[in-house]
Structure formats: structure tokens, C-alpha cells
């Protein structure tokens, strides 16, 4: 049990990083990485929502969809769950934990459209994970996202002051540096953790 959790965690954070090797969640990755501070906010919000979504979607899948042989509804049902969940969490935080709400700010509602969140719940089903494994995969997948976006934001902060050709200015240099950071993560690909 423990070894499979370690295997899932390391896999989700480094080897099969959601952004750099599965290319899920690229939109917020490029959109919210101007500053390290906002990147950390976005990353933490994703960790939070991915963990919660994994747990709830696992329950819905196991006790409603699989029980009624309606597996083909997974994508649709999960989207519904994620959208409702994010709305609910937003309302809850606004009332109960205003400090966290203002820290996460605009990022919380934005996560509804983050495909990494839908990706993680669908992958949970695909990999036949049990409840604990799904939860771990969700949280560590979020941590992988956090790691990637913070690393990339620090790179972008430095690139802003670098001297590069005029034609690369703006989004082009951003995409080029994203490719280079992703290349660094290729070093992990193919690694296997002995069980």
C-alpha cells in the first residue's frame, strides 16, 4: 500500500508531471505565471481542488456510475461535479475563511476550466485507483502543477530583464522558455520506481 502511494506520488510530481509530460492545464500554466506570487496562489488552489475533486468523483463513479453501468457518462458527470464543487468551495471560503479567499482570489473560479482537474479524475478511473490512491494522485498531481508553475514563473521573472531579439518579445519568448523548462523535465521520463 505504502509503496504504491510513493510510486503514485513521485510519478505524479516528477515523472508524469501534468504539465510537462501530459500537457494538461497548459492554459493557467501560461496565463498565471507572470509572477511567482500569483503562481503560488494558482498552484495552491489547484492542489486543493484536485484533491477534493478526486475524492468526490471517485465516490460518484464507484457508487453511481459503475453501479448503474453508466461508465460512458464519466466525462459529463465529472465536469458537473467539478463545476459545482468549485462554486461551492468559493462560497464556503468567502464566508468562512475570507483570508484564504482573498489570497486565492480570481484563481479559484478559473480552475473550473482547468483541464488538469478533469484529467486527474479521468486518469483515476483509467488506472483503477482505489479511494486512497485517487486522493493521493489528485493531491500530488496538484503539487506537480504547483512545482511546474512556480519554476516557470521564476524563469519568466528573470527572462523579463534579459536582452533577447525584438521579434521574440512577449508571448514568443514565454513559449520558448516553457519548452526549455519542459525539456528539463524530460530527464525524468522513463524512470521507474522499484516496488
Amino acid at each position: 500500500m505504502l509503496s504504491s502511494i510513493i510510486q503514485i506520488s513521485l510519478g505524479a510530481i516528477l515523472i508524469n508531471n501534468f504539465i510537462f509530460s501530459q500537457f494538461l492545464g497548459c492554459c493557467p500554466f501560461l496565463g498565471c505565471s507572470n509572477k511567482v506570487d500569483t503562481a503560488v496562489g494558482m498552484g495552491l488552489a489547484v492542489v486543493f481542488v484536485m484533491g477534493l475533486a478526486s475524492a468526490i468523483c471517485w465516490v460518484i463513479n464507484e457508487y453511481i456510475l459503475v453501479a448503474l453501468h453508466l461508465e460512458f457518462l464519466q466525462t459529463l458527470a465529472f465536469i458537473l461535479v467539478i463545476a459545482a464543487l468549485v462554486q461551492f468551495v468559493e462560497m464556503f471560503l468567502k464566508k468562512m475563511v475570507p483570508s484564504l479567499y482573498s489570497a486565492l482570489g480570481i484563481f479559484l473560479p478559473l480552475i473550473t476550466t482547468n483541464c488538469a482537474v478533469l484529467g486527474v479524475v479521468l486518469l483515476n478511473v483509467q488506472n483503477n485507483y482505489n479511494f486512497i490512491e485517487s486522493l493521493v494522485y489528485g493531491i500530488t498531481g496538484g503539487i506537480g502543477f504547483l512545482l511546474a508553475i512556480v519554476l516557470f514563473a521564476s524563469v519568466r521573472e528573470r527572462v523579463e530583464f534579459a536582452e533577447y531579439p525584438e521579434c521574440f518579445r512577449g508571448f514568443s519568448i514565454c513559449l520558448v522558455s516553457a519548452a526549455l523548462v519542459a525539456l528539463a523535465f524530460m530527464g525524468f521520463s522513463g524512470m521507474a520506481i522499484p516496488v
Binding site: I60, A77, L80
Partner: protein, 264 residues
């Protein structure tokens, strides 16, 4: 046929449950928006110029309604708008005094010891990228590359010999410089406060002495000598409480490091 009906039923029920829960939750977790905020937003100039130092007129209206911002910050609206905002917020806020920016650092070139000779982009944030420290040995010192000068919309700041200075006659107290300073040393002080320690160093005396020949060493002399008890030395740094200070200037005379200065 059954599977079609079943899937419609399942999604319908799921959607209904989630919708109901959300509707229910929005009742329970309802947060009131201050009606004053909308009223203040009405009377502002609406230019979204950012002169108040907040993100747009909406941001400023929210801050005023919460009581975090003074009523007279709308630069585009001027005195007329300030009077209207004050009316909405109640007369008590009228007493709020005008604030001006102040850079508590005297470490100009030749006085402060340098960590390295910085030749990169002329931007304080860029200079901070070298391990989070800057060109001067003192980690609390003004970097002097002028992020605050660029942020000031009123031309009230300039760099003098490696340290940012404020022209108090031009400063409107918007706080834009406070927000951009990567060292977080620029602060807003009441305009009537003329005596301020021009240093932000919180290191121990011996360490501060090595870094800068005009740094506060926390000797407590000002705290002992102040006739009105307005000065406290916290974390090896003299701090003046504007509420108690009588502007007598005695501390400036006794300070062995000559960092307590009289502002023009």
C-alpha cells in the same frame, strides 16, 4: 432504451442535487456587499487612472467602504469628489490627515558599503534577483534604481546620490511608491511629521555600523532623551510615534549617528 432513460435520470438528478445544494449554500454563505461601496463608486471620477494607488475606481471604492483608504485619494475628482465621498462615509473621516511618502534611508553613495557593483538593467526588482539581496551591503537600504520614481505619477520622487528622495510639495500620498519598493522600506507618514529617523536597518548595532556610516545602531539615546516619550527602539531601530511627537527636534541633536533628520 433503459440506459438512455437511466442516464437522463442520473444526470438530471445529479444536476438537480448540485443546483439545489448551490442555491442552498448561496443562502447560507451569503456575504453582504457594503452599500456604501456602490455609493462611493457613483461619485468617483470614473477615469480608472490609478492615481489613488488602487486598481481602478472599483478597487478604491471598496477600500474606502472598508475604511482602509482616506476619502481624499481621488486625484482626478479633486476636492469636490473628496467632499462627496466624505459625506457618504460620515464626517469623522474628514479629520484624516494628508499623508506623504518617506524613504527611510540615508545610505547614499560613499556612505553605505557596497556588496557588489551592479551594472544590470536599471530596475530595483532586477537588482534584487541576485539572491534576494541588492547592491548595498545593508539589506534594508534603498537600492536607488528608481522603481518608485517610475511608479510616481506626480513627479514627486527622484534619485539623489543613490537614494530615493521625496518632494513633499508634489507628493499626494497615493502610496504607489510604497507598493513597488521591493525592499518595502518606503512608507507613508503624516505631512505634519517633520522629524524622522532616515534609516530602516534592523540589524544589531555592531553589524549596522560595519555596513553603513549613517545607520541606526539602536543605541536608545533618542528614546531616553525624548521629552514626550514618542520614540521607541524596536529591533535596533528608532521609531517615532507621530501621535506623541511634538516636533521639538531634540532627538536629531542627540543622535550620535545623525540619522534623525528634519524634513523640509
Amino acid at each position: 432504451m433503459t440506459s438512455i432513460l437511466l442516464s437522463m435520470l442520473v444526470l438530471g438528478v445529479l444536476g438537480g442535487i448540485f443546483g439545489g445544494l448551490l442555491a442552498f449554500a448561496s443562502e447560507i454563505f451569503h456575504v453582504d456587499v457594503d452599500p456604501k461601496q456602490a455609493a462611493v463608486r457613483e461619485v468617483l471620477a470614473g477615469a480608472n487612472c490609478g492615481g489613488c494607488g488602487y486598481p481602478g475606481c472599483d478597487g478604491y471604492a471598496a477600500a474606502v467602504a472598508k475604511g482602509e483608504a482616506p476619502c481624499n485619494r481621488c486625484v482626478a475628482g479633486g476636492a469636490e469628489t473628496a467632499a462627496k465621498v466624505a459625506e457618504i462615509m460620515g464626517a469623522s473621516v474628514d479629520a484624516a490627515e494628508k499623508m506623504v511618502a518617506f524613504v527611510p534611508c540615508s545610505g547614499s553613495a560613499g556612505v553605505a558599503e557596497m556588496r557588489f557593483n551592479y551594472t544590470g538593467p536599471q530596475d530595483c526588482q532586477a537588482a534584487m534577483l541576485f539572491g534576494g539581496k541588492s547592491n548595498k551591503l545593508c539589506t534594508f537600504a534603498c537600492i536607488g534604481l528608481g522603481n518608485c520614481v517610475n511608479a510616481c505619477q506626480f513627479g514627486a520622487m527622484h534619485i539623489e546620490n543613490g537614494v530615493a528622495k521625496v518632494d513633499r510639495s508634489k507628493c499626494v500620498g497615493c502610496g504607489a511608491c510604497v507598493d513597488v519598493c521591493p525592499k518595502n522600506i518606503v512608507k507613508l507618514i503624516p505631512e505634519s511629521q517633520k522629524i524622522m529617523p532616515a534609516c530602516s536597518n534592523k540589524d544589531k548595532g555592531a553589524a549596522a555600523m560595519k555596513m553603513c556610516s549613517v545607520g541606526c545602531i539602536g543605541c536608545m539615546k533618542c528614546q531616553r532623551e525624548c521629552p514626550s516619550g514618542a520614540i521607541t527602539v524596536k529591533e535596533f531601530l528608532a521609531q517615532i510615534d507621530p501621535a506623541k511627537c511634538t516636533q521639538c527636534g531634540h532627538c536629531a541633536e542627540v543622535c550620535p549617528r545623525h540619522i534623525i533628520t528634519t524634513l523640509k
